[in-house]
């Protein structure tokens, strides 16, 4: 009788543990959220297809000419999803250690912030940067503000690229503005003082006002 009781208890536990797996799995599974359709982010080069034209752009030494080359490619329908495992974003190229910069771009791409609009877009940016309360109340607010600025400037870059594709502005005008945006981002990422950044942003605002987009 004693043997039966022990084996009964052991068997009961075995069955229960087995059943618990299903109960826990059912309780912890997530409902998949509908994801917005990813819009390819452009502006950087990709090593794969179409190889010839983009490699041609990448080998151009001047920043503005490189951007112009890509804008022309985009306009002709050669638009690609950027793979940050293979390529370094233009703004990160001049950095001594571009790892954190590339990680920021990767994270914002993964979160698909640029597919969102309005408050959702801002929330997405702030989530990526790690801003969880008012920026003024954040720890390390200067660094977070710099990262947030990068994402905002990238948003402007996207708007210019779209305007070029929709033939609202010429590729040349677009290249002028994007060059200023990238230069501003480089200053921000390089931890340059505020005065230098503001000066570049004023140039950008002036150029932007002539675009009408």
């Amino acid at each position: 009788m004693k043997n039966i009781s022990i084996s009964t208890i052991i068997l009961s536990f075995a069955i229960l543990i087995f059943l618990t797996i299903f109960v826990y799995a059912a309780g912890s599974s997530e409902i998949p959220q509908p994801q917005p359709t990813p819009t390819p982010i452009t502006g950087f080069l990709q090593d794969d297809e179409p190889p010839v034209r983009n490699k041609e752009c990448d080998s151009i030494p001047q920043l503005k000419e490189r951007i112009l080359c890509r804008l022309k490619n985009n306009k002709e329908g050669i638009k690609e999803q950027v793979d940050y495992e293979k390529q370094v974003p233009e703004a990160c190229r001049t950095l001594k250690n571009p790892t954190a910069c590339i990680a920021l771009y990767k994270k914002v791409q993964e979160n698909k912030c640029y597919d969102l609009n309005g408050i959702e877009k801002d929330k997405c940016f702030k989530d990526v940067v790690g801003i969880k309360k008012k920026l003024s109340e954040e720890n390390d607010k200067a660094n977070k503000a710099r990262q947030y600025l990068i994402l905002l400037l990238y948003d402007l870059e996207e708007r210019v690229e779209n305007a070029v594709e929709e033939a609202k502005i010429t590729p040349n005008s677009g290249a002028n503005v994007i060059t200023l945006i990238i230069e501003a981002k480089q200053l921000i990422l390089d931890n340059k003082p505020k005065s230098e950044i503001v000066s570049k942003l004023n140039e950008l605002k002036e150029e932007w006002s002539s675009l009408n987009i």
Partner: protein, 71 residues
């Protein structure tokens, strides 16, 4: 007969233990959900999100963020 007794005993032990485990799991999941909700509420209440629609909105946010960059 012995087998019948054995199965009868096993059945009730399983039922009781299953109920206990279900209650524990329910409390655990419920507690976690509550913590996540509280966390999200705290975050939403303290963070300020702006409506970014036009390029003017973006420039406004840029100007605002510049206040937090060191001179």
């Amino acid at each position: 007969m012995e087998l019948f007794e054995y199965m009868k005993k096993s059945f009730w032990i399983i039922i009781v233990l299953l109920i206990v485990i279900l209650i524990v799991l329910f409390l655990f999941v419920n507690n976690q959900t509550q913590e996540e909700t509280e966390k999200a509420e705290t975050q939403d209440a303290s963070a300020e999100y702006q409506d970014i629609q036009t390029s003017d909105d973006v420039f406004n946010q840029i100007d605002e963020s510049l206040n937090y960059i060191e001179e």
